[in-house]
């Protein structure tokens, strides 16, 4: 009886946190659909979404122009936040972000090679996606070959080294690229943007993100145990080796798909898990869904700002850093007690 009350009390204490995360997502959705060069009223938006007839222009703005971009922001934001949360738990380090194992650097190299070879946008995205997966697989393979009592540390160090090598590769391709057409395209891609999102981009993004996120969500209680020291997790009955591979694979899948669609968008996967942790606590059973919701809302808000904040589109990667860094410092100084 007592236990159920305690559990109930703890679940209730997480409710306001979930409420805030949901409020951010809803505010993000409303703003992203309404604000812009062609403003749409909330009334028109609700009418269009519930299938009522609205002016042709409004319908086209909502479904053709902003819809794909909104969905992409929701998927990419949620994906990066979930991957960051999973990696922070897996590496027992709150300073880890989804690109710790080289997913972003691998995707970047894949994309710039695609641009260098003057391939189509779909193939460039495919190259980026595969680049991310191959980079992490290589890091994992090299890390596993090193015999060590601290496999986590070896993995992180390998990730840093391989990431830096891939960065050199990106530099080389940029150096060789045609400076008038290819180089600007590479620069824009590396800065990250959702501006060019088309309806056709959504399925290749949705598939991997849904699969990876579902795997991570299904494993979310085990992730608590995985955030303990290796030997403790094993004596609690967890086969840490296979589970680590599953978590890394799922998180890499969602990260690579996101980076392939939107380019390099830093900070979301680092900041959002912290914010979510301060809202609902560190238990992954609640943290992971809260992170997903908050990440989606956060990137929607940032992307709306990128779209409307200036005369020209502000690159998303720059904005997430400009907003994310001061925010992160504020988080460190004000709420660090809750996850120290």
């Amino acid at each position: 009886m007592r236990a159920r009350e305690t559990a109930g009390a703890m679940a209730r204490s997480a409710l306001p946190g979930f409420g805030i995360a949901l409020a951010v997502l809803i505010a993000g959705l409303l703003l992203a659909f309404s604000v812009g060069r062609y403003p749409v009223s909330v009334g028109d938006l609700l009418a269009a979404l519930t299938g009522q007839t609205v002016p042709q222009a409004v319908e086209s703005v909502i479904f053709q122009v902003r819809g794909p971009r909104v969905l992409a922001a929701v998927l990419v934001g949620g994906a990066l936040a979930v991957a960051g949360t999973a990696f922070q738990g897996l590496f027992r380090n709150p300073l880890v972000s989804p690109d710790i194992l080289g997913a972003s650097s691998g995707a970047a190299l894949g994309a710039v090679i695609g641009i260098f070879l003057s391939l189509g946008i779909v193939v460039i995205q495919l190259f980026a996606f595969i680049g991310g997966l191959v980079a992490v697989a290589a890091v994992y393979a090299i890390g596993s070959m090193v015999r060590s009592r601290d496999p986590i540390l070896v993995l992180v160090l390998t990730g840093v080294v391989v990431g830096s090598l891939l960065g050199a590769g990106v530099g080389l391709v940029k150096y060789l690229a045609d400076p008038y057409n290819q180089l600007p395209a590479m620069t824009f891609w590396l800065l990250g943007s959702l501006a060019a999102t088309t309806p056709g981009d959504l399925w290749p993004l949705f598939g991997p993100v849904a699969i990876g996120a579902l795997v991570l969500l299904a494993l979310r209680w085990r992730m608590n145990v995985m955030s303990l020291p290796e030997e403790e997790a094993r004596t609690l009955g967890v086969a840490t080796g296979p589970l680590r591979i599953a978590i890394v694979a799922a998180a890499t899948l969602v990260t690579s798909a996101s980076v392939a669609t939107a380019g390099i968008i830093g900070w979301v996967g680092l900041v959002v898990p912290h914010l979510a942790r301060s809202l609902v606590g560190p238990d992954f059973a609640r943290l992971l869904p809260a992170s997903a919701i908050l990440g989606a809302g956060y990137l929607l808000l940032i992307d709306t700002l990128a779209r409307t904040g200036a005369q020209v589109e502000i690159p998303l990667g720059i904005l997430t850093a400009v907003v994310g860094t001061p925010f992160f410092i504020w988080l460190l100084t004000s709420v660090s007690k809750t996850w120290s």
Binding site: A7, M10, T235, P282, D283
Partner: protein, 254 residues
């Protein structure tokens, strides 16, 4: 039930720490593992827990080789209480204890009402039920050790293995943990713990196993094994024995 290591050679891939070690532990019994730094206590502990494969020999749980059992099956039989540490994330005390239930669920399951009840009962048993909602990072070292004991109990194992359970505790908490170890044996658990203090072995253990340079140099009831001569050989340092009128014995180093 019995947990026994038979003719074990223990160590890591690049070096051997000890050889020819036989050790056994029955349910309802407390075994203390003593030895100087570097004698192989921790390595033996990890080997018995199944964290480190023995280089030779076999560990058997009720006659069946531990190597044939999965991590989950091992966890249902043997719980491990590590030395206290600061966790990366500020999990609630209840969440930490609930993690002890992991081996009773499947890969995707989350704690059930029954798991919550077992966890709360384990906390109550150590008198820390009121801490359930507190962050694990914000309680004292003594309380943290009791939380890890509660987590081990929530695992519902037959055996509990503790690595220097008193190492970072103040005098009062050391006594408290020793008492809890005795209680665990009384409730039918087999308990194995390492310690640097022979007095803790005298107080809490039925048997003591002495390890020196990776070899066993004594094994038996604490009253027989723990004497000045044995301890001086074990640690290579003088030891003074004091006994009071009631016959209670203690050892002083030097």
């Amino acid at each position: 039930m019995t947990l026994e290591g038979h003719d074990l050679t223990i160590g890591y891939s690049d070096r051997t720490v000890g050889a020819g070690i036989n050790v056994s532990l029955k349910t309802g019994e407390v075994l203390a593992l003593l030895g100087p730094n570097g004698s192989g206590k921790t390595t033996l502990l990890k080997t018995l827990l199944g964290l480190l494969p023995p280089k030779a020999g076999d560990i058997r749980l009720d006659g069946i080789s531990l190597a044939t059992r999965s991590a989950r099956e091992r966890a249902q039989a043997i719980a491990y209480v590590p030395q206290t540490h600061i966790a990366t994330f500020a999990f609630a005390v209840e969440t930490v204890v609930l993690m002890g239930r992991t081996a009773h669920g499947n890969l995707f399951s989350r704690p059930t009402a029954h798991d919550h009840a077992v966890a709360q009962a384990a906390l109550e048993r150590f008198g820390i039920g009121a801490l359930a909602g507190r962050p694990y990072t914000m309680i004292s070292g003594g309380e943290r050790q009791l939380v890890l004991l509660a987590r081990a109990l929530a695992q519902e194992p037959q055996f509990v293995v503790l690595d220097e359970p008193t190492a970072s505790l103040d005098f009062g908490n050391q006594g408290k943990v020793m008492n809890e170890i005795r209680q665990l044996a009384r409730s039918g658990h087999g308990v194995l713990f390492t310690t640097h203090d022979p007095n803790h072995a005298l107080r809490a253990a039925d048997r003591a196993c002495l390890l020196r340079n990776g070899e066993k140099c004594g094994d038996g009831p604490v009253q027989d094994v723990l004497n000045s001569a044995m301890l001086e050989t074990l640690y290579g340092a003088p030891v003074t024995r004091v006994t009071d009128a009631s016959g209670t014995t203690a050892f002083l180093p030097g």
